[in-house]
Point group: C2
Chain length 353, copies 2
Amino acid sequence: MNKYEIAVIPGDGIGNEVVPEAMRVLEAAAEIHGGLSLQWSQFSWNCEYYLKHGQMMPDDGIDTLRSFNQIFLGAVGMPGLVPDHISLWGLLIKIRRGFQQSINVRPAKLLRGLESPLKNPKDFDLIVVRENSEGEYSEVGGRIHQGSDQIAIQNAVFTRKSTERAMRYAFDLAAERRGHVTSATKSNGISHSMPFWDEVFKEVAVDYPEMNTTSTHIDALAAFFVMKPHIFDVIVASNLFGDILTDLGGAIMGSIGIAPAANLNIERKYPSMFEPVHGSAPDIMGQGVANPIGQIWTGKMMLDFMGYRELGELILGAIEDTLQAGVRTPDLGGRAKMMEVTDTIIANLKKRA
Amino acid sequence: MNKYEIAVIPGDGIGNEVVPEAMRVLEAAAEIHGGLSLQWSQFSWNCEYYLKHGQMMPDDGIDTLRSFNQIFLGAVGMPGLVPDHISLWGLLIKIRRGFQQSINVRPAKLLRGLESPLKNPKDFDLIVVRENSEGEYSEVGGRIHQGSDQIAIQNAVFTRKSTERAMRYAFDLAAERRGHVTSATKSNGISHSMPFWDEVFKEVAVDYPEMNTTSTHIDALAAFFVMKPHIFDVIVASNLFGDILTDLGGAIMGSIGIAPAANLNIERKYPSMFEPVHGSAPDIMGQGVANPIGQIWTGKMMLDFMGYRELGELILGAIEDTLQAGVRTPDLGGRAKMMEVTDTIIANLKKRA
Ligand SMILES: CC(C)[C@H](C(=O)O)[C@@H](O)C(=O)O
Ligand SMILES: CC(C)[C@H](C(=O)O)[C@@H](O)C(=O)O
């Protein structure tokens, strides 16, 4: 029996609703497997915690998490209660950086049984590899002067090491897939970071002569996500560009509520963190209508990363069976409640086992 | 008779094809009006010019343009021949900055007779007001170290003056429309520029108590362009975010080939520049299939800015009549050639006159 210690941080809003659902599915999967045991330890670090303690997690929060195999996170943020930059930099981004989760992997594909908002989408199946540790998301910068003279300067920092790591990961991934890597750039408008990004991409590509490569400006790339997402295989993008593209990926699939994500420490020195693309969605909290699929698919990515890819495939199959049977939450145009969706996924999982 | 001196820069690729088409339409509009005379002076500044002279325009290029009322531009860039950052910073961005064209206005709306790639789009009609002079598009920054230690730093610079100017323009525009301004932010991930952006937005909004305001992170905003573009009226965005959103705007309309843009010197001290969102598209050059509508609609925006709004409305109506009659270029799923589209627009314009 392989035991895994999983730290669970449901976080805010619907994170608290969808995380237990995903855990039910993962438990069912572990049971099917027979040789896999998931040990869950829950941490209530969120905006409420912040309002009581003045910080999003205790001082030794990162140390506490260090001993776990993986971290399973719901969503962070309650913009009305705590400013976003406090809640996110105090928890989500702190963990991403504390554990050098420098790669964020986010797939988007046309699921069986799901209505894309696109009219006639060809079958698409893409993965965005997002640099997750630096770039435009930076605390470097500041302000000068007051009032009408005020200036804010924001430094985006791109290191060779992190840029190259994201790109190599993208090429390795493409080698297992359809062999095509698209680099998201904007070197026509952004004069330093993006030409650097392009140079590194060209250099790294030399080591992968059998791969096809394309460089596309982020504005056109975003438009192509709408017009012809089927042309993409693996896309490598900076932190900000990856962020934007993956929400778009969720949108063209049919709902942000579906899109999964993995924050990977690819060196496996520290725990990785698995959290869906969607946020805490306080507006639909407490109604039992949150879409659990993003969190469940995220759980599948956790299993993949732990080496249980077949089990992961079963889960994705069960998700598609469920969608195809019309059991869908309102964000997908359905009338099912969250728990009904989960129950059906588990039933379908057992059928597939 | 009101005479206007227009500097015409067809630029690269299909710019050379669609600009003459748009001029034909504008001439037809001027004729209908009777009291308006457009004097065109053409400048062949483009990548070919660069290959001959080592610069995109002559040293006194900006001075030469200064005396014109407006600038009508096609597209700039031939990535195979001249690196984008050279061609663009040497011409397009040089003119934008040289003439303090600090506001870039780009509408997106569901046109009559046009097939959106969205499945069931509700009627949308939005305008992106893009800060056009600073922000993420900056030459400030540089590199340090070599090889695997190399670091590139990119400074995004946000001044109170330019930020506020874009926002006030957006509010003034919304006041003439449906009274709703959405601010594109990313203050949850970007620590200095975007919280500053949010603060200025809140302060400016105080002066427009009758307007509705929303702040939305760029990732979610991009997704909403796909999922529910009808919720937007005016969106105010930084240079980069505006760039991305407006390509998306083109995509949801049906083609980037349609989207128009205006680079405005709102103080009217210098000429403004009118250029469509699409690029030089070398891949379809010379086939006569370029979509002239982006350039023609851009011409309409030029007339609007010069005070001929009724004439502008006639042109947009004639464009819609043409689309509805099925006279469309291949990018819109049609089989018409560029010139046939223009001819039909002119015929429809005359019918409407
Ligand atoms: C060509 C490029 C520099 C330009 C920009 O990003 O401003 C273009 O994409 C646009 O939107 O006008
Ligand atoms: C909440 C926010 C800081 C975060 C990000 O931008 O990284 C989110 O949008 C995401 O994509 O995980």
